[in-house]
C-alpha cells in the first residue's frame, strides 16, 4: 500500500465507519421489525431531514446562536477566572472548591430556577450553555499557568520582571494550548447545555423541536434533531481545532518536524 493510499484511507475512515453504523442500524430495523416510534430507520430520518429542511434549519440556527453566545461568554469569563486562579494562590484556595462544588450540581437542576429568574426564551439556554462549558476552560487555563517551570520564573524574577510581566510574557502564551484543548471539550458541552435548557422548558431551538416532535410520537423528526445537534457539535469542534492549530502551532511541533 502506498503512502498516498494509506492517507486516503485514513481520511475516509470516519465516513466509512459512519456509513457502516448507519447500514447496520437500517438492517437491524428491518430484520427485527422495529416500529418507527421506537427507532426510525436512518433512511426515514434522512427523508424527514429533506422534507422539513427549512424548519430544521431555523431551529438549528436558533440553537447554534444561543450555544455560541454562551460558549463565547464561557471563553471570556473562563479565561479571566482561570488566569486569576492560576496566578494567585489566594484566589485559587478561595474559589476552586466552590467551583468544583458548583460543577458537581447537575445542570438540569438549575434550568427551572433560571426560568423563574429570567423567563423562557434564549436567555436560559445561553446561561446554561455558559455555565456548563465554563468549568473545563477555567481548570485548564489555571493548570497552564500553575505549571510554569520554576526555572522560568526564577529567570524572569532575576531579570527584575514584575508578576504582571511574568504573566503576560510566560503565563498567558503557555496557557494557550491548555485553553484550546479545553475549548474542544467546552464547545460540545455548550451544545449539551443549550439543548438541555430548550428541552426542559423552552419555546425555541432544536431541543424544543425534538420535544414537541416526540410529544406527537414523531420519532423521525426527533432523531433528525439529534443528528443535527451532532453535526453542529462536530462543526464547532472542527472550528476550534482549526483555530488551535493556527494559534499554537508551536505546541504541535512533533507533527511539524516529522
Amino acid at each position: 500500500m502506498s503512502a498516498l493510499q494509506r492517507r486516503a484511507i485514513r481520511l475516509a475512515m470516519p465516513w466509512l465507519t459512519l456509513l457502516a453504523l448507519l447500514v447496520l442500524w437500517e438492517v437491524a430495523c428491518i430484520v427485527f421489525h422495529i416500529p418507527e416510534i421506537v427507532a426510525p430507520r436512518p433512511t426515514r430520518v434522512f427523508e424527514v431531514v429533506i422534507q422539513r429542511w427549512d424548519l430544521l434549519l431555523r431551529f438549528c440556527l436558533e440553537t447554534l446562536w444561543t450555544t455560541l453566545i454562551g460558549f463565547f461568554l464561557a471563553i471570556g469569563f473562563g479565561l479571566l477566572l482561570g488566569l486569576a486562579i492560576g496566578a494567585s494562590p489566594f484566589i485559587y484556595s478561595g474559589l476552586y472548591p466552590l467551583l468544583i462544588a458548583f460543577n458537581a450540581i447537575p445542570k438540569v437542576a438549575i434550568v427551572p430556577i433560571l426560568m423563574i429568574w429570567v423567563g423562557i426564551g434564549a436567555l436560559p439556554a445561553i446561561i446554561t450553555a455558559f455555565v456548563i462549558s465554563f468549568f473545563p476552560i477555567v481548570v485548564n487555563v489555571a493548570t497552564g499557568l500553575a505549571t510554569i517551570e520554576p526555572e522560568m520564573r526564577d529567570l524572569m524574577r532575576s531579570l527584575g520582571a514584575s508578576n504582571r510581566e511574568i504573566l503576560v510574557k510566560v503565563g498567558i502564551p503557555r496557557a494557550m494550548p491548555y485553553l484550546f484543548a479545553s475549548l474542544k471539550v467546552a464547545a460540545t458541552l455548550a451544545f449539551v447545555g443549550s439543548v438541555l435548557s430548550e428541552t426542559v422548558g423552552g419555546n425555541r431551538g432544536i431541543g424544543f423541536l425534538m420535544l414537541s416532535a416526540s410529544a406527537r410520537n414523531d420519532s423521525a423528526t426527533t432523531f433528525a434533531g439529534l443528528f443535527a445537534i451532532a453535526v453542529m457539535g462536530v462543526g464547532v469542534y472542527a472550528a476550534c481545532a482549526l483555530i488551535e492549530r493556527r494559534m499554537t502551532r508551536w505546541a504541535f511541533r512533533g507533527e511539524l518536524v516529522r
Binding site: E149, E151, D154, L155, R157, S158, A161, K169, P173, V257
Partner: protein, 264 residues
C-alpha cells in the same frame, strides 16, 4: 589596596521548611567573588549548589548570615544578573532570536529603548548568536535546534543585556561530552571578551578547572564550603590544557576532596 569584592557571603545558611521538617540546605558558607572573576562551585549532588546561586542573586533570602553585592546587603532579586540553567527553558512559542531578546523586554534601560531601537537590538542579538556559532539560526524555533544549540541560545539570553554577574547552573550538564567541551571553549571566549563576573555551578570537575579562576568545593548536605582552590593556569585554556599535568593535578586534588565527602 585591593578593591572590595563584588559579591560577598558571610556565614550564610539556608534552611527550608519549618519545625520538625526543617532541613538545612546550606550551612555557614563564606565566599567572596571579585569583579570579573570566574568562580566555580563543585560538590556532590544535592549539596545545595543551586541554593547557593539563588542566595547570591537574591531570589531566596538567607535564613542566617549576610549576602552583599557591591557592599550593599541583598534584600531582593539583584539587578544586572544573567542566568542560565541546565534546562534551557527557551519559550517554544518564540523564535530563537525573540527568546534571546527576552531580557531586553524586561530589563531597563533596554526595555525603554527597545521599541525605538529595535533594529539595533536585533543586530546585537544576531551578533551574539554568531559569536556562539549560531549565525542564521535566529528565525528557527528552539525545538528545531539540537540540545547544544539550545544551550548556546540559553547562554546568549543570559548575556544579551550585558549583566555584570552571570549565573550558570550546570548549563552544560545535559549535553554529550563533545558538545560540552566545545561549549567550554565558547564560554571562555565570551568571558575573555566581556569579562563579566561568572558563577558556575557544576559537578564536572574538569569543566570547573577549565573555566574558573577559583573553585569552591562543597560538602554533602548541609552544604559547607570545605575547600577553595585557585586555578592559575594561563588563558586561553584549550582542550590540550586539560591533558597537561598541572591541570590534571588540580582536578585530582579536587576529586580527592570530594571523594572524602562520599567516604564519610
Amino acid at each position: 589596596m585591593p578593591s572590595p569584592p563584588l559579591v560577598e557571603l558571610k556565614n550564610v545558611s539556608l534552611a527550608y521548611g519549618e519545625g520538625s521538617e526543617r532541613m538545612l540546605a546550606l550551612g555557614d558558607a563564606t565566599m567572596s567573588i571579585d569583579d570579573g572573576e570566574f568562580v566555580a562551585v563543585v560538590g556532590p549532588s544535592g549539596c545545595g549548589k543551586s541554593t547557593l546561586m539563588k542566595l547570591v542573586t537574591g531570589l531566596l533570602p538567607p535564613t542566617g548570615g549576610e549576602v552583599s553585592v557591591r557592599g550593599q546587603p541583598v534584600t531582593g532579586p539583584i539587578k544586572g544578573v544573567g542566568m542560565a540553567f541546565q534546562n534551557a527553558t527557551l519559550m517554544p512559542w518564540r523564535t530563537t532570536r525573540d527568546n534571546i531578546m527576552l531580557p531586553l523586554e524586561v530589563v531597563e534601560p533596554h526595555k525603554r529603548r527597545l521599541r525605538a531601537n529595535r533594529a539595533e537590538y536585533i543586530a546585537r542579538a544576531e551578533a551574539l548568536l554568531a559569536s556562539v556559532g549560531l549565525g542564521g539560526f535566529g528565525d528557527k524555533f528552539p525545538w528545531q535546534l539540537s540540545g547544544g544549540m539550545q544551550q548556546r541560545s540559553n547562554v546568549c539570553r543570559a548575556l544579551i543585556h550585558e549583566p555584570q554577574i552571570l549565573m550558570l547552573d550546570e548549563p552544560f550538564g545535559a549535553l554529550d561530552a563533545f558538545t560540552r567541551e566545545e561549549l567550554w571553549g565558547i564560554m571562555q571566549a565570551l568571558w575573555l571578551e566581556r569579562r563579566f563576573t561568572a558563577v558556575l555551578v557544576t559537578h564536572d570537575l574538569r569543566e570547573a578547572v577549565y573555566l574558573a579562576d577559583t573553585v569552591y568545593v562543597m560538602s554533602r548536605r548541609p552544604g559547607r564550603i570545605v575547600k577553595v582552590r585557585t586555578v592559575d593556569l594561563p588563558r586561553p585554556r584549550t582542550l590540550e590544557t586539560t591533558f597537561e599535568p598541572a591541570f590534571v593535578d588540580i582536578v585530582h586534588e579536587l576529586r580527592e576532596r570530594i571523594q572524602q565527602e562520599h567516604a564519610e
